[in-house]
């Protein structure tokens, strides 16, 4: 992708996946697209790296998956947020907001 994209901070992938799925079920490629679209093309997730992360949060019970068929008739695995995943999203966004606020304050102060 272009040089203008931002590096993904470690630990934020879970939050981004959960946020992307909060609007409805998506397959892996769809999640990548959604994150790209929501960030206005600024965030580039290495596509392959999505899957270990996705499986990890599936094992934690935050998302569940099911094989299905896309609009264009292709087989793909679709992911949905579970209730625990929705709760986790709130927790992670909360702590993210606090981190951003804290960093912003520190930066303003100096």
């Amino acid at each position: 992708m272009s040089v203008e994209t931002a590096e993904l901070l470690q630990g934020t992938l879970d939050m981004l996946i959960l946020r992307a799925l909060s609007l409805g079920p998506l397959h892996g490629y769809g999640i990548i697209q959604r994150i790209d679209q929501l960030s206005g093309g600024l965030l580039a997730v290495e596509q392959g790296a999505l899957y270990p992360g996705l499986y990890r949060i599936e094992q934690r019970g935050w998302v569940k998956s099911r094989w299905g068929v896309t609009e264009t008739g292709r087989r793909a695995k679709f992911y949905t947020n579970t209730r625990a995943g929705t709760k986790q999203l709130a927790i992670e966004e909360d702590s993210w907001d606090r981190l951003v606020l804290a960093i912003a304050r520190v930066r303003e102060a100096t």
Binding site: H27, G28, Q47, G48, A49, Q59, R74, R75, K77
Partner: protein
Amino acid sequence: MSGWHWLRALMARLRALLGREAILRDIDEELESHLDLATEANIARGMPPAAARLAAVKSFGRRVRVQDQAYDVRGGGWLETIWQDLRQGGRMLRRNPGFAAVALLTLTVGIGATTAIFSVVNAVLLRPLPYPEADRLVVLKTTQRTTGAIFDSAMPDYRAWRDQTTAFEGLGAYYYRDMNLVGAGAYPERLQGARVSANLFSVLGVAPALGRGLRPEDEQFGRHQVVLLSHGLWQQRFSADPSIVGRTINLGGERHVVVGVMPAGMAFFSNQPPVQLWTPSAFAPDDAMNSRSNHYVRLVGRLRPGVTLARAQAQVDLVASRLEQQYEENKGLGGAAVALGHRAGGGRAPDAAGAGGGSGVSADGGLRECGQPAASAGSRPRARAGGARQPGRRARADRAAVAPRELAAGAAGRRGRAAAGLGPHGGAGRSAPLVPAAPQ
């Protein structure tokens, strides 16, 4: 949450171990489907198919690494590593039978020794009351309904409970008594003895280490001069001489035949005081111990398998109420069965927790002290062996049989009466009654 998470992960790993191929295929299919979707999107943007596929593969990153990481998350991982190690170990052992034999022998000896040591520690240190199936052991006390006071029991009441209930496999009786050992070795010695019913040891489930236990005929007055030694006494005074069984020793001027030696570590309840000699309880017909007012013996019974404490209590109540109708001395008296296994403060004897100073017996008091409350340790009645049979000495024995101060130091209200030598019903019998107080 984290426990749940852990369990879920473990299940996934187990599933992975069983269905490794299935998971790898699932991952592979998903990644393939991703590439197809990406290719499709690239074509939609106007790329020629070949370039579209190439671009999709390129932006995907290193597929093999992704596959490995994905499989690591979804299964396999450490569990599979352990499994591989085990198989590798198994192959090694098969290839080197000599080494395998040595390793096996080392393990065998090691585990065996550890188990043996633990068995000893368990038997000696961790089990203070080594009675088999101790949960079936029950302490039976006499209670006074009006005050809630708790007493030891009278011999006639013991016999009635023993013979007229079916809940107990056996109901034994005992009381502590000092005995003077004379003649054996250099010096006379005052020893802690106990007089016990012939069935007591079988109720407790303890057999002598040497010789025999007590038999019913040992309780017949006149044939009762037999004695069992504690393991410690046998070692100290008789040099652990196995031929002691059958020999005669002199206890307070009376000759007793040694019929057996109890096992080492034989805890006689709390071992407070540690008993060194056991003799059968046998009484001349006119003995003070046969009085209904003489509340002197401690009772311990073993419930029949499957019989509840409540059922035993019901039978005890029934017998008590019969006795109440029959005998003036039994008016107002009941019985309380308390499980020996109860912990301190946990249980209160039924009926006994009522009015009158709230002197509910802690069930553990029944166990640990078995009617030998801490406050009364060392205050054992001083009746002398054989004394009761001689008219000239009976008076002394009776005086001694009045409850000692500490024993009566129960609820304040009872103290005066006990000190005055009054029984639970206030009427002194032919012999002065004993009124041991409840454990506080």
